[in-house]
Assembly symmetry: C2
Homo-oligomer: 185 residues x 2
DNA sequence: CGCCGAGTTGAACTGAATCAAGAAACGTGG
DNA sequence: CCACGTTTCTTGATTCAGTTCAACTCGGCG
């Protein structure tokens, strides 16, 4: 549910906004390993995951690199493209059979143009993902491979059961072999 | 000048917004090594640098870590605090005698409440700094110390002349010794 | 049954950290 | 304008976390 993106639900205008979002969002189902968005295209949707799990990834020197994960109640998109309206370097892949709510950029834009009072919530959303990203930089700078792995598992306890080791390894910036060794203690 | 933060100046509403910002921003001068914001306090300002150079930094295990640099026409703040309205872990230090425009959070908020059509520009600003941050993650993941150094110097060609080696080293996540060796080819 | 993708394990290698010491630059007061 | 102390930068030796490459194991599935 889209609401879960926001922490402060006391604001009645927020509720109104979320209801409007629900109204314009479209529900879609994806089969395991299906791509909800492909690299090189402009990504027109923000995806809210109702059930399942997804990742964005790209290729760097021929290697498949996971940029983000999202699970139930989380959101994900090819953020470079969604924000900047240009071709994305990311693809968005579903790692299990997954149901998502798709929020289209043009429709969101339309809504924001009509009711600029909603911009505030988009801002809060951006602020949140910004802070998350800053945290990730700090993790990369100051934590060892093992610590980064432990932090990830803390944040997504069931990730290990749900996705390939290689995807997790590239997400935390280490090789699959190292992750395998870490896991085996 | 605040305008320089934005790429698309064709929008007349943006010009209007920038003019209003100029109106509420306050100009201040800082002496070299002065702290414009101190760790542990809530940071109430976004700083636009007219002349000079500044950095945000924090202490990690007793070490001074630079989180960001900004030079002429750039902006900087203790972003965690400015966004989330809580005590900041960053301090903001001026590295030369510096003149900045201070935009106060409460006044910005007030302006946005009055004229929500301006929210859009705040969103664009956030989107921009988000993309910058994402780029930095990629740099940390995939580039060697040397390459990260070269990328930084490309982005801020005069940084090396203006700030201590140690500040640059911590910003790109390497030790000062390594940076010294890199520089000496 | 044999293949295939995913995960594990081993050995050699390497980029960068750390520790330690010395050199250079900087600024402050006499 | 020089002398001194402090800060900044360099250089060397050693160590280590993590990579790479390669071989091997395991489980599922046609």
């Amino acid at each position: 549910m889209i609401l879960n993106q926001f922490t402060d639900l006391s604001d009645p205008a927020l509720l109104e906004f979320v209801n409007e979002l629900q109204g314009i969002a479209e529900k879609r189902s994806y089969k395991k390993n299906e791509l909800a968005h492909e690299e090189g295209k402009v990504c027109d949707h923000l995806f809210f995951i109702e059930k399942g799990i997804a990742r964005t990834f790209y290729f760097k020197d021929g290697k498949d690199i996971t940029a983000h994960f999202a699970t139930e109640n989380g959101s994900i998109t090819a953020i470079d493209s969604f924000i900047q309206r240009k071709r994305s370097k990311y693809s968005l892949e579903v790692l299990e059979d997954t149901e998502m709510l798709l929020l289209s950029y043009p429709r969101l834009q339309e809504l924001l143009d009509q009711k600029p009072q909603y911009e505030k919530f988009v801002r809060l959303f951006l602020e949140q993902i910004y802070v998350d990203l800053a945290q990730r930089i700090e993790n990369l700078l100051f934590y060892t491979a093992k610590e980064r792995y432990e932090l990830l598992i803390e944040a997504f306890p069931d990730l290990l059961q749900r996705v390939n080791l290689g995807h997790i390894a590239s997400y935390i910036g280490i090789s699959q072999e190292t992750l395998s060794r870490i896991r085996g203690n």
